[in-house]
């Protein structure tokens, strides 16, 4: 099992479903290539499979000469949900990365927000919607109105996870909600 991170660490978590672009986002945010840590899983966690490995992303960005920012990717598959509270422990915020091509985008989003809020109530969250570049005229409208109808007001950004400036801007939005 992963160790509880140092309680003084400055920690950011990138969450979201499988293939949404979490690793890509972390890579764009990082100055160095992120690490993927392989984890042996217990029998209980895996159901009928006895062994497997899961790669979760980890990277650091130096805020100044002394203070590192730890960036963690939350493994997307729900069967790794038991790890989520551990990874989210002590994080100051989350970027929820969603794939614009997801046909059930609103549902996926609300599910994730629900889970995150259950683990860490009130955790600052921004939503980053990736892969809009693959759609002709991508629209956030239905996602926005789904959130608005629940009274949820948080930044929803479309961005290209491969673009460093845009990935940084998503973090700025997260920080702006906390400023």
């Amino acid at each position: 099992m992963m160790e509880n991170p140092d309680s003084a660490a400055v920690k950011l978590v990138i969450a979201g479903p499988v293939g949404a672009g979490k690793t890509t986002t972390i890579r764009s945010l990082s100055e160095t290539e992120p690490l993927s840590t392989e984890m042996p899983m217990t029998e209980a966690a895996m159901g009928d499979k006895t062994t497997t490995t899961v790669a979760f992303d980890f990277s650091t960005v130096m805020l100044d000469e002394e203070v590192p920012l730890f960036i963690y990717g939350l493994p997307g598959q729900s069967r790794f949900q038991h790890m989520w509270p551990i990874i989210l422990e002590g994080a100051f915020g989350v970027v929820l990365v969603l794939d614009a091509r997801d046909e059930a985008l609103e549902g996926t989003c609300q599910e994730w927000l629900g889970v995150l809020d259950e683990i860490v109530p009130g955790l600052p969250v921004v939503i980053g919607v990736t892969k809009t570049d693959t759609l002709e005229a991508p629209s956030l409208r239905s996602l926005r109105s789904a959130l608005a109808s629940k009274g949820i007001v948080l930044p929803v950004f479309t961005f290209d996870a491969r673009n460093r400036e845009q990935a940084n801007h998503v973090i700025r939005a997260l920080l702006a909600t906390m400023a």
């Binding site: 994080a91 915020g93 955790l123 608005a148 950004f157 479309t158 939005a173 400023a179």
Partner: protein, 314 residues
């Protein structure tokens, strides 16, 4: 509004016939003019299919998505599939041809729709007001350029990037006109984010605009600025408005951003429908008490400066 029909090298006789047909369109409550093609935008261009010039104009018009009526010597009928008409076809067939072509585009509804004249002298303000109580899409027109304001999808669209750029240059000027859009812009339109379009306009023309009455609004939606990483100040303004700061003084004081720029950004928010009137309280969920570990102020400062939260947008 007049339907603008242009003729590319079809000869004197034919031009006369086209003018007669244009006159007959009045019976359908359509005013139209027939003039020589000059390469600019129009509602329909008439070309001869049998010569090289006609073919060139037709190719160019296709590129610019200008509807074309092609004249041939082959017969005296009208073929709506190809918009081809014989040069000896009777006048009523020409009228039918024009009606068919104009119907396919949206020129007709534009010609017939009552056009509200923009009394507002500043395009962005006029636009903002035209959008104020409207859920649907809007067609905004200036200088012969059409910009579809697609609230339904969160885009602005025009026939080309150049059109959109020209429209942006006009957002500080008078002369904008509006009407309902049928929601379907041109087939291969150039799209941009509505939020970014409006907010950039607000920043650009902020100095010309009246002080935004921010106390009357609350933030309904954060702007989507994901693809505009240079726009940082609007993020900071959105954050403060979301937290309930409701005066320009306060917003300017807290951010160090010039008051007229704050106001401009807010006009941009308004035009992008990100602000809702304060009176309209929908379900406003109160977020639970945060259990997140907020970074200490000095750590937050480090994060903010590492990610450039306080850098100037312009």
């Amino acid at each position: 509004m007049n339907i603008d029909i242009r003729v590319a090298g079809t000869g004197e006789d034919l031009q006369k016939r086209l003018r007669l047909a244009s006159g007959l369109l009045l019976a359908h409550k359509i005013r139209s003019t027939v003039r020589d093609w000059d390469g600019t935008r129009c509602d329909c261009v008439v070309v001869t299919g049998d010569d090289l010039f006609g073919q060139r104009v037709r190719a160019y018009a296709a590129l610019k998505q200008i509807p074309v009526l092609t004249i041939t010597r082959a017969n005296d009928t009208f073929d709506p599939a190809t918009n081809t008409i014989g040069d000896g076809a009777p006048l009523n067939l020409y009228v039918r041809a024009f009606l068919a072509i104009l119907q396919a585009g949206d020129a007709l509804s534009r010609a017939r729709a009552p056009v509200a004249s923009g009394e507002d002298r500043i395009g962005l303000l006029a636009l903002s007001r035209a959008l104020a109580d409207r859920e649907g899409d809007l067609l905004a027109m200036v200088d012969g350029i059409e910009v579809h304001i697609l609230q339904s999808s969160g885009h602005v669209a025009a026939r080309s990037q150049q059109d959109l750029e020209q429209a942006k240059d006009q957002l500080g000027s008078p002369g904008w006109q509006f009407r309902d859009s049928n929601g379907k812009p041109c087939d291969s339109c150039y799209f941009e984010s509505l939020d970014i379009f409006m907010i950039r306009a607000g920043i650009r023309y902020g100095g010309m605009l009246p002080a935004f009455p921010v106390a009357e609004y609350r933030l309904g939606c954060w702007p989507d600025l994901g693809t505009a990483p240079d726009l940082v100040d609007p993020l900071r303004i959105a954050s403060l408005v979301a937290k309930g700061h409701r005066s320009l003084d306060e917003l300017a004081g807290l951010t160090g951003i010039d008051q007229s720029q704050v106001s401009g950004i807010l006009w941009g928010f308004r035009a992008a429908s990100l602000l809702v009137p304060e009176g309209r309280r929908d379900t406003l969920a109160s977020r639970p008490e945060s259990k997140a570990r907020m970074p200490y102020a000095n750590v937050f400062q480090k994060l903010a400066s590492r990610f450039g939260l306080f850098q100037k947008s312009w």
